[in-house]
Amino acid sequence: MKRTTLCAIFAALPFAATAQSESYTIDPIHSFPHFGIEHLGLTLIWGRFDRMSGKFTLDRAGKKAGVEVAIESASISTGDNEKGNRPRTRDEHLRSADFFNVAEFPRMTYRSTSVKFAGDNPAEIEGQLTLLGVTRPVALKLERFNCREHPFAKRPACGGSATGSFKRSDFGMKFGIPGIADEVRLMVNFEAIKDQ
């Protein structure tokens, strides 16, 4: 095969997909991004997004990996969703233009740009978060990563937990700072099953 043809083939491969690369699909009912925000400096209010979808690729021999997820911003859930006699609940306020503006930005995405391994497992992810139409780098640290056969699907599966943080003002989300903190703590718990 001519050298130029070989180069063309390699150039066409997507980032992190190598000969030994395996592809996994995120299990949406066992994968959730959780976020924590300080309220009045008294407590951390945790919330979560109920709908996340995506995939990751894993090549343990080549120590390469990549991840891409999409999160439905309207699926935000912080435990306050009954108005009572208030004009709106916290979840409704978070969906509004003051925060996530879900009508205009129904989806947030996270795409990795590089992944560092520790032994056989991915350990640190550099990636880009797109929120409110703004794209900024957010790093995630894998606190837990474990692969084994999924007991029901009978296929290889991997799961774990990743943490990180970012400043929401970097994305233009400034309402309520500092009583409602700028810093957002992340905890993403995930499970994914290997594609056929």
Partner: protein, 195 residues
Amino acid sequence: MKAGVLCAALSSIPLVAAAAPESYTFDPHHTFIHFGVDHNDFSTIWGRFDKSSGKFTIDRQAKTGAVEISVETASLSTGDGVRGDRPRSRDEHLRSVDFFNAAEFPRMVYKASAVKFSGEVPVEVSGQLTLLGVTRPVVLTVDRWRCAAHPVTKRGICGGNAVGSLLRSDFGMKWGIPATGDEVKIRVTFEALKD
């Protein structure tokens, strides 16, 4: 000296601080009980109870305190509440007799009256949880505690975080062990307003 002047002089002398119990009510929109359970050794699935109510009393001089919190079991929320084309969602399964049996046990209650202090700050609460009609001890470590005046209302407000764990099988909740873990991690994030 006239009696009136003496009285006035005496009443202006400060007394030694007597027991000073204060009572607080948990703010239901800023108080949540979170629970985490290991799933197939892959990840921890976290859930939350959206509806709870309760109070605590604290006496920083006497170093005593008491807490009572009642949680609506049907208010659990783990992010999978819409069944789609499945027979049920996870939240529906958790409300069923396999887990919380919310129809028969609509409430879980935690009552504590043994509080350990470090100076004037509560650090550990020892109490009893009644879940599925079974009562067992549960200890919570208060790893964060701060009191301040609410910036808008100026009312006293205390907030923080408490953590603990329990084995659900101790309360008779055995479905799915060990693939769905027996150990339940608890995290209570709270804010309470002074009564």
